[in-house]
Symmetry: none
Subunit: 213 residues, 4 copies
Amino acid sequence: MEPNPTFLNLPEEKKRRIEKAAADEFSDNGYRSASINTIVSKVGIAKGSIFQYFGDKKGLFLFIFGQSVDKVKNYLKEVRDATTEAPLHLRLEETLKAGVDFTQKHPVIYRLYVRTLAEKEIPFRAEILTSIRNYSLEYLRSLLDTAREKGELRDGVNIDVACFVIDASMDRFLQALTLPHMDGGLGIHNADEKELEIKIKHLCDSLLSGVTP
Amino acid sequence: MEPNPTFLNLPEEKKRRIEKAAADEFSDNGYRSASINTIVSKVGIAKGSIFQYFGDKKGLFLFIFGQSVDKVKNYLKEVRDATTEAPLHLRLEETLKAGVDFTQKHPVIYRLYVRTLAEKEIPFRAEILTSIRNYSLEYLRSLLDTAREKGELRDGVNIDVACFVIDASMDRFLQALTLPHMDGGLGIHNADEKELEIKIKHLCDSLLSGVTP
Amino acid sequence: MEPNPTFLNLPEEKKRRIEKAAADEFSDNGYRSASINTIVSKVGIAKGSIFQYFGDKKGLFLFIFGQSVDKVKNYLKEVRDATTEAPLHLRLEETLKAGVDFTQKHPVIYRLYVRTLAEKEIPFRAEILTSIRNYSLEYLRSLLDTAREKGELRDGVNIDVACFVIDASMDRFLQALTLPHMDGGLGIHNADEKELEIKIKHLCDSLLSGVTP
Amino acid sequence: MEPNPTFLNLPEEKKRRIEKAAADEFSDNGYRSASINTIVSKVGIAKGSIFQYFGDKKGLFLFIFGQSVDKVKNYLKEVRDATTEAPLHLRLEETLKAGVDFTQKHPVIYRLYVRTLAEKEIPFRAEILTSIRNYSLEYLRSLLDTAREKGELRDGVNIDVACFVIDASMDRFLQALTLPHMDGGLGIHNADEKELEIKIKHLCDSLLSGVTP
DNA sequence: CATGAATGAGAGTTCATTCAT
DNA sequence: GATGAATGAACTCTCATTCAT
């Protein structure tokens, strides 16, 4: 997971160029089809350097992926801590807004995650994904638990299932930002900021209220 | 999209062996990493034959994928037509049951779909996925439209958003069947038939009723 | 050990060119340092073909080496069968002459053997070498056993040790033919046929009579 | 052949660690396959230092090999000088014992020698090996010449040939110590000290007496 | 003087595709 | 129509060597 100190001591700008090129390549092509040739020629360094920094392709991938996960976690943590007093409705909205914000700032990271979902022979794939999903669910569960304590939930709500639904819907919402074909008629892809805010509100409404009388 | 007539005139049994081997390979390895070598050696035919039948790797993939999509569509159509009179709650349950049933009978097809979600250089990937998602949403929308006409929906429900939530949740539910790390605490993966039925009911409850009072 | 039938069905001339180039390369450079690039560019075939024929570098080496061993064994067998009635002295001479003959006709094979002696990571190296040495010793032992039965040996001779000495000396004699620095003052390297015959006679004399009165 | 003075001025302990690591690597892998990376990381010095000390890989090898040859020569010289008065039989035994002793104390050096025998592109390989063999033969020749003067030899003995046989047999005996497959039924490999002493005696008996009446 | 980052040629191997039989 | 041998580009990874610090 940790690159060679050589890499860490590189000038910030060079490090970022390498990280960006690698993240781009992996998120565009998945693990196995990603080409180190492409990465190095984009960055303009020698092929050998990548292997000096990260040992092998697997090491490079784990580093890039780990970095991305850390970025997401920090982002979510900030949101949770900034909204502890707010009602559930608002907290969900803020969470999703933060997700949108993050996905727009780092579209590559989201694609990288989606890629990893779907590829079989990725190193430590199972462990990686389990940890991500668990993190996401625990985050939502802490929101719902707080809401229940505050009496914001209807009696008889199954919190596990509710988390599942919210997680899936938010995940898909974010996918739609990056992948046009996941948009599903909502017009999420290519919506401007104002429109997105409205769509987020609608989604959270629907998640909280359901569809039946 | 259409294979060479030579292929279509092959004995049924041989055709099926080729289709199965190809679907297995693509769903295990994605598009680019799938190996035609592996396919032909599994089937026991000459490598050149594949190229005679399908032109190139892309042609083979499109044929296999198209076949799978057709199977799904037929399955869903049957469910819709068999439950037109039932209440929304039941129709959703039956739809999800049918999805589970299909995924269990044809696990390869589901993996093939998930793979395609995530790979960039798949031929006509965008078109393929858009058509699938649209089909799925239209299917759900026809269910909800009928429900609204029957007065089963709460006033002010945004049907587009509701479809989006239901589609995302059902999709994730089916993913959890095949990929353990998408299970998310619900215990879907490895559940027996009876347990699955209960989970399906809970999910549909949650989707219809929301979480707030 | 067995190459792909594809290789076996090649025109004799092409097969021989491949075998020769590979044997040359291995005997010049050992296993690990031998370059498949060099082999294919010498033969003028595509790199992929070698891997089609032999699977991998290891497979190529085992085939080439096995072929060489077979050639040696056949040669020795002929000599033994052609001299069963002759006295020990003559049989040793004929054996060595045959060895010289073989080494001159196939200098590459001898170098290949010497190479294998000295390299560590050769596939199945231990098994290969044990089998060769055992074959050689058994051959000599059968000669000495026959001689003992015929009363040609001095009482109290330790046959194991005698075989060891003869084997080592003959081995070195043959090495000297190919490697000038093993010549050791005898002038074996670059000797003409007539001179070699005399040297062979001297060596066998010495082996049979020792040096003390 | 001579390293940079910088190396010679290094602390003894560091010098020895470098020499040991290099000798290990060359004797394990031969010349071309030996990795300077491995050497420096074992010793814990910078890669550049090796090139500062020895110029290039070739310089390092020549230095290490030369050192080893010197060690062997010193060893043999001691034996010769310590046994000038003894009969030939004893002197040969002592020589072989010394060889065994040396091989057991410095197994790396012997492997290094065997490696060099077999590799083509070693720098100055021919010159190196010729000098070694010549030294060995001259050593034996001085023993046999002394013996002849003392009347220990049978009339008509060809001293060149005798040296050749003795040299080859002793060489093989020592090889058998390190390489199990050269053992040839004598059980040299893994023999304890006492057994070895007996085997040495038998070998020298055989060398001196031959096999015929 | 020591360092170790950078280099790029070359290693073995895989693979979709072509085409003569 | 079926075959499978041949191809060569692309892959990951290793390595001796250089040189700025």
